[in-house]
């Protein structure tokens, strides 16, 4: 099992304990998780993520067998194609983009540059990883006011081209259903969802989604270090009997680079 949604580095709005690769590897060991895709948390809030990507590659180098970098790339920044090629060379299975934080979701949709980026990313075999939210809306710092990734943004990216592969993290049931049933079957197959923010019993949103959308559209993700890595595992352990033996998508199924 691979956790596709982990990060290292500090968070601007609260103290996060031990957000470093050492701690991550210990937690993976404890939870029985084979490896992780790792982003650089501060980069989401930087204008230019280039320096953060360099830090990410350097920090993860000693853990190359276990932790894979997922750098952040701004498609409205000069030389983003070079950054994408560098990500591929560094062994990244995916790249991260933050449409609300970077102003790439005008009117709640997706900018032209973001759609072109999604296509280009897919064409070199990488997935594009989106973060619906970092924190619950109700606890956000007054400066953290950009809002969540919308269903319209995800749909626009899923429709951008056949090569696109999206991993949408930190979505809840409503967003997943809105997007999934708003896409053609071919477009649906371009989108994978992590389970970090989906509710379990008694409402049983995860079980319901497995029955309707299908478990193969979901991947394991925790949003560590912001959230407990025990959460997605607990959710899987509490699945309804009829879906208890369902299999998540293997991270390697997402795209060729994974």
């Amino acid at each position: 099992m691979i956790d596709v949604n982990t990060l290292i580095g500090s968070y601007p709005f609260r103290e996060v304990p031990h957000p470093d690769p050492d701690a991550l590897v210990r937690v993976l060991d404890r939870e029985g998780i084979d490896g992780a895709w790792v982003g650089h948390l501060p980069s989401a809030f930087h204008r230019d993520p280039t320096a953060g990507n360099a830090s990410l590659y350097k920090a993860l180098a000693p853990y190359a067998g276990r932790l894979r970098p997922v750098p952040a790339i701004r498609p409205d920044w000069p030389h983003w194609l070079g950054a994408l090629a560098a990500a591929r060379e560094q062994g990244a299975p995916a790249v991260r983009a933050y449409p609300p934080q970077w102003g790439l979701a005008p009117g709640g949709g997706a900018s032209t540059s973001l759609r072109e980026f999604a296509v280009a990313t897919g064409e070199i075999g990488l997935a594009l990883l989106l973060t619906v939210r970092f924190e619950d809306l109700r606890q956000r710092h007054p400066m953290d006011s950009v809002g969540d990734v919308t269903g319209a943004t995800v749909r626009a990216l899923a429709r951008a081209g056949e090569s696109v592969r999206l991993v949408v993290t930190a979505a809840s049931r409503e967003l997943i259903e809105e997007v999934h049933w708003g896409l053609t079957p071919a477009e649906q197959r371009r989108v994978f969802w992590d389970i970090s923010w989906v509710w379990g019993p008694p409402e049983d949103h995860l079980s319901k989604l497995f029955r309707t959308v299908g478990s193969k559209r979901f991947v394991f993700g925790s949003q560590w270090p912001l959230r407990l890595m025990q959460t997605p595992t607990a959710n899987l352990d509490l699945l309804g009997d009829d879906v208890a033996d369902s299999s998540l998508a293997d991270a390697r199924d997402i795209c060729s680079a994974a």
Binding site: P202, D204, A244
Partner: protein
């Protein structure tokens, strides 16, 4: 994919009291109400919950707002909760839900349900926690040793629609006025800034936060223990039992002692509620202690 093992609770062995649970009934406007209730019991059995201490919030918005339930809807919900407890005497305990804007009705409901076995009082967000209208309710709570579970927004920075929210500081003012009453501060993971709550209630010893809510921020549980100590915390799940299970597993790896974990799992609840509220916990704990003593004796 599942890591279920027959006979071994997912949340670990030993008694476990969920101090923040909810159920539904036929007039809450959803056709799957019985299925949701059953899902709570089923998940509770898997996790290892010994008792669900639960409430029903009127009609959950169907015929009056969830957080401003009418007296009729409150009585309806309380009746359904009484019936459920009668059907599930070994698994369910009851908070009497009240709306303090109807003080006489609230006090009458507390007496009516207490006489039929309710062990606590549930306050929603119908009136700010420090409002004088809550005083007669808190006085009854103290008189009859009925802990009051109060819905809380962690750090109230603005008004939110559909509820008159309170935060830790609001509840602290009520608790200061009623030092003989016990207050359960709802869901530190249920939205808002829990760090504000810990500071607001740190010096108010009759407030006991529960850990429930969908929020599973890393550092939240550690900060709660650091600020308040394990003896002030209660385990609960509210609407997301998966996050409740995750927190149980996190408690196990935080470096807490066995006594501290047991306190959070059930002993603090047993101390707050009337003696005899959780007999299966007492029996189970006695059995575990005896087995442990026997093992220690054999090793010696």
């Amino acid at each position: 994919m599942s890591a279920r093992t027959a006979g071994v609770p997912l949340g670990g062995g030993g008694p476990l009291v969920d101090v923040h649970a909810h159920f539904h009934h036929a007039r809450t406007g959803r056709s799957d109400w019985a299925e949701v209730n059953e899902a709570r019991f089923r998940a509770g059995d898997r996790i290892g919950i010994t008792y669900h201490v639960a409430s029903i919030l009127g009609t959950w918005g169907f015929s009056s707002p969830t957080y401003f339930p009418s007296p009729d809807d409150i009585a309806l919900g309380n009746d359904a909760m009484l019936d459920l407890c009668a059907r599930e005497p070994d698994r369910a305990r009851m908070f009497t839900t009240v709306n303090p804007n109807y003080t006489e009705h609230a006090c009458a409901e507390i007496e009516r349900c207490r006489a039929r076995g309710a062990i606590g009082i549930k306050l929603l967000a119908s009136r700010r926690a420090d409002d004088a209208l809550l005083d007669p309710i808190a006085a009854l709570a103290a008189e009859h040793r009925l802990p009051m579970l109060h819905h809380i927004w962690q750090h109230r920075t603005r008004e939110w629609p559909s509820q008159e929210i309170s935060d830790g500081a609001d509840l602290a003012r009520l608790a200061d006025r009623h030092p003989r009453a016990s207050f359960i501060l709802a869901h530190i993971g249920g939205g808002g800034d829990y760090a504000h709550t810990f500071a607001a209630v740190r010096d108010v010893p009759n407030i006991f936060p529960d850990l429930s809510g969908s929020g599973v921020d890393r550092g939240m549980l550690d900060a709660a223990v650091d600020a308040l100590g394990a003896e002030r915390l209660l385990w609960g799940s509210d609407l997301t039992m998966c996050t409740g299970l995750a927190k149980l597993r996190a408690l196990d790896v935080m470096g807490l002692s066995r006594d501290e974990i047991e306190a959070i799992r059930w002993k603090n609840a047993a101390r707050l509620f009337r003696p005899g509220s959780f007999p299966r916990c007492e029996r189970s704990s006695a059995g575990i202690d005896a087995a442990r003593d026997s093992l220690a004796g054999a090793r010696a």
